[in-house]
């Protein structure tokens, strides 16, 4: 479903140039849960931004669902963000003026879809936030905010969820709960997830770990299905 072919990203020019990604290639199939791991500055977030069309590679290709997306113009990328890919960020990135429910509805608002409050509320309930739906982000804990962000990522029924350090800003217990949610979405709904993390415990929950160092893939570890499912219970 997702094909990353020889992606290189260079920041700056001349002697100040920094190679954030160096000829990275890998493939993710439909419904896979992949973790990208590596130390700080290894290029994880850059890679995720390029996959999601938030940033452009210097060279290489990104093919999603049979369509090259690395060279799309802004308007075409809007179409990708409205149905195929959605994001979960480390900083949650909720709009402070809107309630949890309204934040979840936001992607639909931009698609011109109205009156889906029921669906958004359902998603929030699934995240255990049924009673917090009318609270503003400032009234929610970090873990709650991250769950609102996950609900928002699901409201458009995306093919692929891109999560950038989703447990980076929450305590360990909340982090586990969030990872449980991801596993559940992956197992029960078959949603594809690519998660960037530098936390080995989080990465362990994915079916496959791509190890990144200095902008290059240094290792790929595949897990069996059983050992991670036990966490769900």
């Amino acid at each position: 479903m997702l094909d990353v072919r020889g992606v290189t990203k260079i920041y700056g020019q001349g002697s100040a140039a920094v190679k954030a990604l160096n000829n990275v290639s890998f493939r993710v199939n439909k419904g896979d849960f992949v973790a990208i791991m590596g130390p700080s500055g290894s290029g994880k977030s850059t890679l995720l931004n390029i996959i999601g069309g938030l940033d452009r590679p210097t060279s290489g290709e990104v093919v999603l669902d049979g369509e090259r997306i690395d060279n799309l113009d802004e308007n075409a990328l809007v179409g990708i963000r409205r149905g195929k890919i959605s994001y979960v960020f480390q900083q949650y990135h909720l709009l402070p003026s809107l309630t949890a429910l309204e934040n979840v509805l936001l992607p639909l608002t931009f698609c011109g879809i109205h009156g889906k409050d029921g669906k958004a509320l359902e998603l929030l309930k699934k995240m255990g936030l049924g009673k917090r739906a009318w609270h503003k982000p400032s009234q929610l804990s970090g873990g709650e905010q991250q769950r609102v962000a996950i609900a928002r990522a699901l409201v458009n029924d995306p093919l692929l969820i891109l999560a950038d350090e989703p447990t980076g800003n929450v305590d360990r217990k909340t982090g586990r709960e969030i990872l449980d949610l991801f596993c559940q979405l992956n197992n029960e709904e078959g949603r594809g997830i690519i998660m960037v993390t530098h936390n080995p415990e989080a990465a362990e929950r994915a079916a496959e770990i791509i190890m990144l160092q200095d902008g290059q893939i240094v290792d790929r570890i595949k897990h069996g299905g059983e050992d991670r499912n036990e966490f769900i219970r």
Partner: protein, 396 residues
């Protein structure tokens, strides 16, 4: 949830920032509204004063003038002497004046429209002091000099009565009931006028026929005041027609004086509007600056919106919705504050002016405010959408 609802919630959260932007818009529109309102009030006042000139047109003999005076006081000059206007020309003058007014206003009523007040000036000694006697047709004269107030006694009712100007009465020590001799005839002071601040204060008014008879000037008058009753009346046209048709007279449009004054006002208005324009531009920059900061602060929010599927156009639309909120609020407040400002400052610029609400400036204020707010939003809004989503998160 609709896009405008999202914008409204955001505006409510950032009340203070939005208030600053509105303030910028208010400063611009307020100045323009205040200046326009003051100018309007000033114009109305000058029109009001125009009314007070009484006559729009004065018909005098073609030549000769003498210096008027009361004792040693010089009171300017007035056309007088052997050159009089024959009273027989009055019907013809009336016909011309009424005819031109009817033509200009496209009305076809019978009867008189213009007020025509003939006068005879005679210098004569009273108690050893030279004073100007003015023969008037009392009913016509009071129509033209609507500001005349009788301080003591009453207005002239018949040919045996006289009306004294306040200064004339004081200097000559004339009281109600005092007789004044006019060569062979005698009239009684029936009333004394309140001060007018004009030459009238130094004159004594009697019925035209009385004066004509006393001084052997039957059928002769010195000047004719014509009042056309409206600001739009074709005073110059009437003057021209009188010139062309009646020999030996000169018609002077008093309105020319007012026109000069209006011309001055026009210049002042233009200058003030230029000033308002500058204020508007400065205000506009202020608003642009506030909005630029305000939008820059929300680069991250804009990045979030784009990450969850907002197009560039939707972002610009959302920011323009905000500009509309700022513009409408700024326009309404600018109109209110501007009118209030005109009310306070107006009397300092044009003495005695009272500025009031001018409803037609409300849409002017609103359109102006919306224009400033939208214009000031477009550039930063466009800039904000050019930033890459990934960069908008990184910048914070």
């Amino acid at each position: 949830m609709k896009l405008y609802q999202m914008v409204a919630k955001d505006v409510m959260r950032r009340k203070r920032r939005v208030a600053y932007a509105i303030l910028g818009v208010v400063i611009g529109t307020m100045t323009v509204v205040a200046i326009l309102t003051i100018a309007q009030a000033g114009q109305a006042r000058i029109y009001g004063q125009l009314e007070k000139y009484g006559a729009n047109l004065q018909v005098i003999p073609a030549i000769k003038s003498i210096t008027m005076g009361l004792g040693d006081l010089s009171l300017g000059t007035v056309a007088v002497g052997e050159n009089y206007i024959g009273q027989d020309k009055l019907p013809q003058i009336r016909q011309i004046a009424d005819g031109e007014i009817k033509k200009a206003l496209k009305i076809q009523t019978e009867g008189n429209i213009a007020t025509i007040a003939p006068k005879l000036f005679i210098s004569h000694e009273v108690k050893g002091t030279s004073v100007v006697f003015v023969g008037i047709e009392p009913e016509e004269e009071i129509k033209i000099k609507s500001w005349w107030q009788v301080k003591q006694g009453k207005y002239i009712e018949n040919g045996k009565q006289a009306l004294a100007g306040t200064m004339a009465a004081e200097l000559l020590k004339l009281n109600i009931g005092d007789p004044v001799s006019l060569k062979g005839d005698e009239v009684t002071i029936a009333g004394i006028l309140d001060e007018t601040g004009s030459g009238d204060d130094y004159q004594i008014f009697v019925a035209l026929s009385t004066l004509q008879k006393a001084f052997n000037k039957e059928g002769l008058i010195t000047s004719i005041d014509i009042r056309a009753l409206c600001n739009a009346c074709p005073v110059e046209v009437i003057a021209d027609a009188i010139h062309q048709n009646i020999a030996g007279v000169r018609a002077v449009a008093v309105k020319q004086v007012a026109d000069t004054e209006m011309g001055m006002l026009e210049k002042i208005n233009r200058f003030m509007l230029a000033l308002a324009g500058v204020t508007l531009v400065v205000g506009g920059f202020g608003v642009a600056n506030t909005l630029m900061t305000s939008i820059h602060e929300r680069i991250k929010d804009i990045g979030i919106m784009r990450a969850v599927g907002a197009s560039r156009n939707q972002i610009i639309k959302a920011l323009i919705y905000e500009a509309i909120i700022i513009g409408v609020a700024g326009g309404i407040l600018g109109y209110g504050v501007g009118t209030l400002l005109a009310y306070i400052i107006g009397p300092l610029i044009f003495e005695g002016t009272i500025a009031t609400f001018v409803p037609q400036y409300f849409p002017v204020s609103l359109v102006l405010a919306l224009f400033i707010a939208t214009l000031a939003t477009l550039y930063p809004a466009f800039r904000a959408t050019q930033i890459r989503v990934a960069d908008s998160f990184r910048s914070l």
